[in-house]
């Protein structure tokens, strides 16, 4: 009796397996149409950096929807494919491979993180597929090859402006820098801050390090408390930023924190609460109150569609899709080898996240630099915007 029960179970289980396998195969074969243009989304929808990926996906979906409503590109509809890379470098490698070999995408849009973008870019370059990152701010991305582009506020461009603002506007001259050692973005951003602070006459009083995913920063903050500093520069991501500010508050310290757009995420507020209120200031390349006509329209439509405010990532992903579509239209081709040259020569493209020019070295230049903070629990709230001298 017992043996028979097991046999029945085994039969049922194998049946379920077979059905799911068949269903899976059916799903992928029906998408084999040649009359659509596929774009592969790179970004995390869950995990530590999901605060970048979730709004990014919304921006991309909205752009695709708008383009399709206006007849698509070259008579074909755009289709976005959205896999969740969880902010994991192995995962993004697999997903990029899948997009290129199985989905045969015309372009990859992403990733928001520099380190992950580099992983995907190596694969995209060797397969000659265009990768357009609307978020990677660190060095060494477009150098990977001529199929790799990005459109975001570069750290190299923004940091000099931000350091100038800290020293001249605020009179902060004594700096503490905290780096997250297992975060490639952070270890790349810290030297830029170091260089600029020294060049502009500031003093780095203390340098401390942490690791992403750690939660105990008490020793580092107690050390910083023991020396005299005006401002804390943190080069990592929003989760750790919020936890560090909680520790700062817990130890009764009154210190502002300045960082890059790695701190850009709603979790900064959710985790940081009143500890980050008007204390954390970060630079980025987009703020919703930018007065250009396209931006106003974008913000309105985004609100209508998602019932929330767009952020930097949604705006930049939106722009990336629009730029790709424009390149394909103007070169009359969906072949990356053909349309990539159009992007390489982009001049003053009026995007919703500001004007973009791709320079000789294929690096974008955007202006102005926005400084944003948390105000009354609302993020991002504009502190100021500073134009960048393009020369």
């Amino acid at each position: 009796m017992k043996g028979r029960g097991r046999a029945i179970w085994a039969a049922v289980l194998s049946l379920v397996l077979i059905i799911t396998m068949v269903a899976g195969c059916g799903g992928s074969s029906s998408q084999k149409d040649e009359d659509v243009i596929k774009l592969g989304f790179l970004g995390a929808l869950t995990g530590d950096v999901a605060n970048y990926g979730i709004p990014a996906k919304k921006g991309m979906e909205m752009a695709i929807q708008e383009i399709n409503e206006q007849g698509g590109v070259l008579g074909k509809k755009l289709v976005g494919i959205y896999e969740d890379n969880k902010g994991d470098s192995a995962e993004i490698g697999n997903i990029t491979q899948k997009y290129i070999t199985r989905d045969k995408v015309a372009a990859l849009v992403g990733d928001p993180c520099t380190g992950l973008t580099k992983v995907a870019a190596e694969i995209a370059q060797s397969n000659q597929v265009v990768l357009f990152s609307p978020g990677a701010t660190g060095a060494g991305v477009v150098e990977i090859g001529d199929f790799i582009f990005r459109n975001t506020m570069l750290d190299e461009v923004a940091v000099p402006v931000v350091v100038d603002w800290m020293i001249k506007e605020n009179g902060w001259t004594k700096f503490a820098i905290i780096t997250s050692l297992n975060n490639g973005y952070s270890t790349a951003l810290t030297p830029i801050f170091e260089r600029e602070i020294k060049a502009q006459g500031g003093t780095i009083v203390i340098q401390e390090s942490i690791n992403d995913k750690e939660t105990d920063f008490s020793a580092q903050i107690t050390k910083i408390k023991g020396v005299d500093v005006d401002v804390l520069v943190f080069t990592g991501y929003y989760t750790e930023a919020a936890l560090i500010m909680k520790e700062v508050q817990k130890q009764g310290l009154d210190l502002p924190m300045v960082g890059g757009d790695g701190l850009y995420g709603q979790d900064l507020v959710k985790l940081g609460g009143d500890a980050v209120e008007q204390k954390v200031i970060l630079y980025c390349g987009f703020a919703a109150d930018q007065p250009s006509e396209q931006t106003v329209k974008f913000v309105e439509n985004y609100r209508k569609l998602y019932n929330e405010e767009p952020d930097m990532f949604s705006a930049q992903y939106y722009d990336a899709v629009m730029i790709l579509a424009e390149a394909m239209k103007n070169t009359n081709s969906t072949d990356p080898k053909v349309y990539k040259d159009y992007i390489a020569n982009l001049k003053d493209y009026p995007g919703v996240s500001g004007n973009t020019t791709i320079r000789e070295n294929r690096e974008p230049i955007k202006s102005p630099v926005y400084l944003v903070t948390v105000k009354d629990g609302v993020f991002p709230s504009l502190v100021t915007k500073i134009p960048v001298n393009v020369e």
Binding site: A50, A219, G273
Partner: protein, 291 residues
């Protein structure tokens, strides 16, 4: 400054100690390294968070609730994943089973709660007190006080109650205890329950103090607590307490006076040194192997 860092270290260390106790008690009785123990701590933090933020209970009720819930989870894990293997297969199978449970619970919580970091609402109005020679925060006092209270309670229970006596007997010789009429299965269940409750308390305290709760938080904390238990001498209850506090203080002092880049390397380096000199750990006893 030194005293403040020492306090930071003791606070961190006391959370390690609370988790380490669970490892050491279970090991003491059935020689099993319960690798799922770090996950109990994580579940404790989540249950507490759920009670505080969704059910809106106060923190004391939440802590009691999480401790009771984790007791049940701990006993259930023992019943489902370890007891069926006990006596029938090698100790190694139970260890693999423990790793399996650990991965299962991590993924389960990731599925239920998502893998984003969450934080406790402000349940305690934190303040700092200037004692002249050092600044202490209210949270630190509460965590140190509560940990001390729990550990003292545990000591009293083990040395003054019948079940405590049964636990001590079982840890000396499980078979002999069984022959003497001790219901060893019940003792083992009870050990898991107590260890799990302590881990849950640790989880909630860490959640409130460090403000970060996520499904994989048990992994590193579990490893560190396990290291603390080994440092103190695995199987020894005072050893786990001292091991936990020592590891916490070492970590903090490493950052404070050497460099923050090698936080874990310093702590674990010293751990290796101690074990080279005293393989049985700080308070562990050398046991002559029975042949």
């Amino acid at each position: 400054m030194f005293l403040e860092q020492l306090l930071n270290g003791l606070t961190l260390g006391s959370t390690y100690a609370l988790i380490a106790l669970g490892y050491t008690m279970v090991y003491g009785i059935i020689q099993l390294i319960n690798f799922a123990h770090g996950e109990i701590y994580m579940i404790g933090a989540f249950v507490g968070l759920f009670m505080v933020s969704v059910l809106g209970t106060n923190i004391i009720v939440a802590m009691a609730g999480a401790m009771v819930f984790c007791m049940l989870v701990g006993m259930m894990i023992e019943r489902v994943a370890y007891r069926p293997l006990r006596g029938k297969s090698s100790r190694l199978s139970a260890l693999i089973s423990a790793i399996g449970v650990s991965i299962f619970l991590q993924t389960l919580l990731a599925l239920i709660a998502g893998i984003n970091t969450r934080s406790y609402p402000n349940v305690i109005n934190n303040r700092t007190f200037d004692l002249g020679f050092a600044e202490v925060s209210l949270l630190q006092i509460l965590i140190l006080g509560l940990s001390a209270l729990l550990m003292i309670g545990l000591q009293i229970m083990i040395h003054k109650t019948r079940i405590g006596k049964a636990m001590r007997a079982s840890s000396q010789d499980l078979d002999a205890s069984y022959l003497m009429g001790i219901n060893v299965n019940r003792v083992i269940s009870f050990t898991f329950a107590i260890g799990s409750a302590l881990a849950a308390a640790g989880g909630i305290m860490v959640g409130i103090y460090y403000n970060a709760v996520w499904p994989y938080m048990g992994m590193m904390a579990g490893l560190k607590a396990f290291a603390a238990a080994v440092l103190g001498g695995i199987g020894s209850i005072p050893g786990a307490m001292i091991g936990g506090l020592t590891l916490g203080v070492l970590e903090i002092m490493g950052v404070a006076y050497l460099t923050s880049s090698y936080k874990d390397a310093i702590a674990f380096g010293i751990l290796i040194l101690v074990l080279l000199i005293r393989p049985q750990g700080l308070l562990g006893q050398k046991v002559a192997k029975k042949v």
